[in-house]
């Protein structure tokens, strides 16, 4: 039995060592292949928040791509007279991760807003998180300290993805080709490096019918109970820090929603009951006409962004007197 255990231990140690070496060389050795990636937008937003004066009250808007496409932090800052920031560029990164990252920057007097979008408890999109942390060791080690098991569990897949990404980059380099039509907006160049705002010019609607008429139903039972727990905990955290937390609804193309008025009313009532956080607006107010839509039912174009950002300011004004801020 001793021989078996010795050999098993040797095999495990050698495999583990090789895995660590392979992962480290791939993850830290191959750098920059995601430099032009859409996830870079998250890093820009993160760095902007890092540079913010933490003693001065600020507005932070959190969310996925529906938020990035709809909120301009510069416009919100100008209208409200408070420094404003956004955090989150893709729902696939996981709202838990975005909330957790935001917690580092929340201070006294801050206003935190989140357009509500359901998520689950273990909402960490590790593939995208790894991509965003690619050239940012501080982000990686921060996350590793908090979630060592999660990093270990997904490191194999991350290394493979990166190796694959390297092959893909080489292929692109050899062919001297652009990434494809869709990637023009899903690209680091589409963001303002100082603010992390999506500044790529988006005029008109380029979405196909399949991406527009998505038959969205607002059904309270579709929401994971852990989502309420996470948000209520986050609200408590904000309260503890002396910040105010507000929810609103994510914008969506009006033709994409098939729920009736009664169903929306019921959804909102139940949502407000389970989340004792003020909702800035009625869901029907953010059902957007086609002229505000860009490449998907929840992605606004520049006109939609200006409208939604202004509406956010107006909704917020009902709760906060910005003239005093």
């Amino acid at each position: 039995m001793g021989k078996f255990y010795r050999k098993l231990a040797a095999l495990s140690v050698v495999t583990l060592l090789i895995s660590v070496v392979v992962f480290s060389s791939v993850f830290f050795g191959i750098r920059g292949i995601y430099a032009d990636n859409y996830q870079k937008g998250f890093v820009y937003q993160y760095r902007a928040l890092q540079k913010a004066d933490q003693n001065k009250p600020k507005i932070i808007v959190l969310g996925g791509s529906y938020m990035t496409f709809a909120v301009d932090s510069r416009q919100l800052g100008e209208e409200s007279g408070m420094p404003a920031y956004t955090l989150g560029i893709h729902s696939g990164m996981g709202m838990c991760y975005i909330l957790e990252t935001a917690e580092k920057f929340i201070g006294k007097g801050d206003i935190v807003i989140m357009p509500f979008f359901p998520f689950t408890e273990n909402d960490y999109g590790m593939d995208l998180i790894f991509v965003s942390m690619d050239s940012e060791p501080d982000l990686f080690f921060d996350f590793f300290r908090q979630h060592p098991l999660q990093v270990i569990k997904s490191s194999g897949a991350a290394a493979y993805t990166k190796l694959y990404g390297l092959l893909y980059s080489l292929q692109r380099y050899i062919r001297h080709k652009e990434d494809g039509s869709a990637s023009v907006v899903y690209n680091a160049g589409a963001f303002d490096p100082d603010t992390g705002n999506l500044i790529y010019e988006r005029t008109g609607c380029i979405a196909g019918e399949q991406d527009l008429y998505i038959k969205k139903v607002y059904e309270i039972n579709d929401i994971d109970t852990n989502c309420y727990n996470e948000l209520n905990e986050f609200a408590e955290f904000c309260k503890g820090k002396g910040a105010s937390f507000y929810l609103t609804h994510a914008p969506i193309f009006e033709g994409a929603v098939i729920s009736s008025d009664e169903e929306i009313n019921l959804y909102q009532e139940e949502l407000e009951e389970r989340l004792p956080v003020p909702f800035l607006s009625d869901l029907r107010e953010v059902l957007m006409p086609l002229e505000y839509i860009y490449n998907g039912a929840m992605h606004m174009n520049d006109a939609g962004k200006r409208y939604y950002t202004h509406k956010l300011y107006e909704d917020l004004s009902k709760y906060i007197d910005f003239s005093k801020e």
Partner: protein, 415 residues
């Protein structure tokens, strides 16, 4: 009351109680204990064997409980035979280096199948099943069905490898549940090589008893003199119909599962009913039938029938199945299939590596009945062997899909 009658009543009561337990949990929409169907069937088989006098009566409750709940087989089988399993469980075991190594290797192979093949395919196609209404095309849906066929095989047989590997480490050899099933030349053969212990259970405890029943004896008697073909075929067809209906029902309470059972049953019954034609054909074209090309054709045909059956099995809802079939017949779907491949090319590369290893192992198994792949590998020089083991483990670590929600379940847990 004489002894035989009393025994008959007791065994009937035991079967009713066990079926009630299964029925209450499984068919009354209660929370289903994982693997319930497996250990209820194992208990039932044991009781019937005791009634028939082919198994000893176990008077020690804990020994019986150990037999029923032996941990590797508890969740998804194999449905163990008392006479084969119990002597191994109850006897003392010395540590065997060979068993420990082979068991561990087998469990690792099971993890490879589950993590590198089944989970990766699940990542690609689960979304398609959930949003089936958005996809059309003949080629596209066949591609999904074929992928699902491999997913289910890798998932279920992967679990069996883990279970059998764990048992082997303890010196216990459990029944095999898979025998390269996708190389079967007919549906009947497929079911002799897929979920073998379930098929064996139904053969021993349902099929043969029905054949020996008064109904079948009556049919045989009625037609014996008038029509020998009907005298032989009708009882078989009747027994098979009942068996396949029950196999469907074993999977779940829905009509979809009954339809799935009857779908396979229809092909098996047809092979019995049309056997004179097959025999005549085989006699007349013996050279063609024995040719490699014809064998491949039969294997492909059987695989396609099995894969099509998953359109009934996977959605677990006949209206969804009907809609998928409708969408399948609506256009060729070449563009959709190519787009699907292009979007998931990274994952397909991982699946390809996993499938290549699985195919190699299965083909090796088919061609080398006298020596297993593990025995062949054990004869390699140490550097090659260790390189292979480490490479294999690295494949699991770097190419496997794990750590994400939904990937920690095995497909047959729900049964």
């Amino acid at each position: 009351m004489d002894m035989a009658k009393r025994q008959k009543r007791i065994i009937a009561a035991v079967i009713v109680v066990l079926l009630l337990v299964l029925g209450i949990f499984k068919y009354a929409s209660l929370v289903l204990p994982i693997g319930l169907s497996f250990y209820v069937f194992q208990s039932m088989g044991y009781c019937i064997d005791v009634y028939r006098g082919t198994a000893e009566t176990e008077t020690n409750f804990f020994r019986h409980a150990l037999y029923v709940s032996f941990f590797p087989q508890l969740l998804q089988g194999p449905i163990g035979d008392y006479n084969r399993l119990s002597p191994q469980i109850f006897q003392e075991h010395e540590f065997s280096y060979r068993n420990a190594v082979y068991g561990l290797q087998r469990a690792a192979w099971g993890f490879f199948k589950k993590l590198v093949i089944a989970n990766q395919i699940s990542l690609v196609i689960d979304g398609i099943w959930a949003d089936y209404g958005s996809y059309t095309g003949f080629l596209f849906w066949w591609c999904i069905l074929v992928l699902y066929a491999f997913q289910l095989y890798a998932d279920f047989s992967g679990y069996m490898d883990i279970a059998n590997g764990c048992a082997q480490m303890l010196g216990i050899v459990m029944d095999e549940n898979f025998e390269t099933p996708y190389f079967s030349k007919s549906i009947a053969e497929f079911w002799r090589r897929w979920h073998i212990t379930l098929g064996t259970w139904f053969r021993n405890y349902v099929f043969y008893p029905i054949l020996r029943s008064d109904i079948c004896s009556g049919i045989r008697k009625k037609y014996r003199k008038r029509n020998a073909y009907l005298a032989n075929t009708l009882p078989d067809a009747f027994a098979l119909l009942v068996v396949w209906f029950l196999i469907g029902l074993w999977h779940g309470a829905g009509w979809c599962y009954v339809a799935y059972g009857l779908f396979h049953g229809t092909f098996v019954i047809l092979s019995v009913v049309l056997s004179p034609i097959y025999t005549a054909f085989h006699r007349k074209f013996s050279k063609l039938v024995e040719s490699r090309g014809f064998c491949i054709l039969q294997v492909v045909r059987t695989f396609l029938i099995v894969a099509f059956g998953y359109a009934i099995f996977r959605p677990a809802d006949l209206t969804v199945t009907a809609e998928i079939i409708r969408r399948m017949t609506n256009g060729i779907g070449l563009h959709e299939m190519l787009n699907f491949g292009k979007e998931n090319i990274k994952i397909f590369f991982e699946i390809f590596i996993g499938m290549a290893a699985l195919l190699y192992a299965d083909v090796y198994h088919l061609g080398h009945r006298e020596i297993t792949l593990r025995e062949t590998i054990s004869e390699y020089p140490a550097w090659k062997r260790w390189g292979l083991y480490i490479g294999f483990l690295l494949c699991i670590i770097f190419l496997g899909a794990y750590g994400k929600s939904g990937l920690d379940q095995f497909a047959y847990f729900r049964f």
